[in-house]
């Protein structure tokens, strides 16, 4: 969260903003990041910065895997085994779900 906050404050500075109002972070379902822990850490690292009191929105990205056989892209919602719903083939090809990125900042 400290690196996320550093990136937010850097963007704020670069855009001449003094106050950050809202931050959107995209978190992949398999990124290993716990949204609740992120919220909690956010409040601590935002203290005494331009982002204090800002709203943190966590945009969860579902895990999407691609079948190596039929090339279907499917939502991998049942844990760590990605089985293609069409042909049952197991996939190790995760296309989405590992993201941890800053996607939007509102500031003034």
């Amino acid at each position: 969260m400290e690196s996320a906050m550093a990136a937010v404050l850097e963007q704020a500075r670069a855009h001449g903003a003094r106050k950050v109002h809202r931050i959107v972070i995209r978190v992949g379902a398999l990124s290993g990041v716990e949204p609740e822990a992120l919220q909690f850490a956010f409040e601590i690292v935002a203290r005494d910065t331009a982002a204090e009191g800002a709203e943190l929105v966590i945009d969860t990205v579902p895990a999407v895997a691609r079948c190596p056989d039929c090339e279907l892209e499917f939502e991998a919602s049942s844990g760590f085994i990605f089985a293609c719903p069409r042909c049952s083939r197991l996939s190790g090809d995760l296309r989405k779900g590992r993201e941890l990125e800053l996607s939007q900042i509102e500031m003034s």
């Binding site: 400290e2 690196s3 996320a4 990136a7 963007q11 855009h15 001449g16 903003a17 003094r18 109002h21 972070i25 398999l30 290993g32 190596p68 844990g79 760590f80 085994i81 990605f82 197991l90 996939s91 190790g92 090809d93 993201e99 941890l100 990125e101 800053l102 996607s103 939007q104 900042i105 509102e106 500031m107 003034s108």
Partner: protein, 268 residues
């Protein structure tokens, strides 16, 4: 809001102008910078108006940055770096001892080995005359990219083609710490449960290679190799599975073949 009705001053850093209404606000002239970000005109009192920028900026923590640096360093020297991860006691050091003895004769290897305490593993591995650096992590349950960079600094890498990074025995935390390796190798020994990949999926998920070790004692332990292989494939269909015994040498050929295939990169 009066800020938004302010006329646009002739500023040089704005290359285009666009109308981009925000929720509940009247349309205003928004400025789009050359980097794709945009914001509303600056207010008369010189305070900036509300700006909304859209980005896709990966949040990298310090370890990710240092791992990227390690990776670039290994690549530039043509070194294949492998991160070996497993539970304590699954045979990482025994595997490396034999590998250094045998493969080490034709491809120069070096090792960075992590443990909480002692340099016992480094002493065992040094018998092969390969450069070995021991990292004692104290209380940390994994190696991180910075520790590896420090360990590597202590090594003479002249002519080294393969760097083995023997991680602290732990199947949980090392999954989250990229060390800058090209290949992540996860070991599952026959003295463990066949269902370990199902119980600790993230580390197996991240593996390029899974080694089933100590297969020489599988039978006496009643270890079901086929069931273990099924579990590994379910979690890590992307990984190459090699079954071997560092004691008898069974399966070691496939392991060496894999390692040789990783040493193609010539030093730049």
């Amino acid at each position: 809001m009066s800020r938004e009705t302010e006329s646009v001053p002739p500023a040089e850093d704005f290359d285009t102008f666009a109308v981009k209404p925000m929720d509940g606000r009247p349309s205003a002239v928004w400025r789009t910078h050359s980097d794709g970000t945009s914001h509303a005109p600056v207010a008369a009192d010189d305070r900036p108006a509300l700006q909304r920028i859209d980005l896709q900026l990966p949040i990298l923590d310090k370890n990710d940055r240092l791992a990227a640096r390690n990776r670039a360093f290994f690549r530039s020297r043509g070194i294949a770096a492998l991160n070996l991860v497993s539970s304590p006691g699954s045979g990482k050091t025994a595997l490396l001892e034999r590998t250094l003895d045998e493969l080490g004769r034709t491809a120069k290897c070096a090792v960075v080995v992590g443990d909480l305490e002692t340099d016992n593993d480094a002493q065992r591995l040094r018998r092969s005359h390969a450069p070995v650096a021991q990292i004692t992590t104290g209380t940390a349950c994994h190696l991180d990219a910075e520790m590896v960079a420090r360990g590597v600094e202590a090594l003479d890498l002249e002519g080294v083609r393969i760097l083995f990074i023997e991680n602290v025995g732990n199947l949980v935390c090392p999954a989250s710490f990229d060390l800058g390796e090209a290949v992540r190798v996860v070991l599952l020994s026959t003295t463990e449960g066949e269902d370990k990949p199902l119980k600790y999926p993230p580390i197996f998920k991240s593996a390029h290679v899974v080694l089933m070790t100590k297969i020489d004692v599988a039978e006496v332990l009643g270890f079901d190799r086929a069931a273990a292989a099924r579990n590994i494939r379910a979690i890590a269909p992307q990984a190459r599975l090699i079954e071997l015994s560092a004691r008898t040498g069974e399966g070691m050929g496939a392991w060496y073949e894999f390692l040789r295939s990783q040493t193609g990169g010539a030093p730049r």
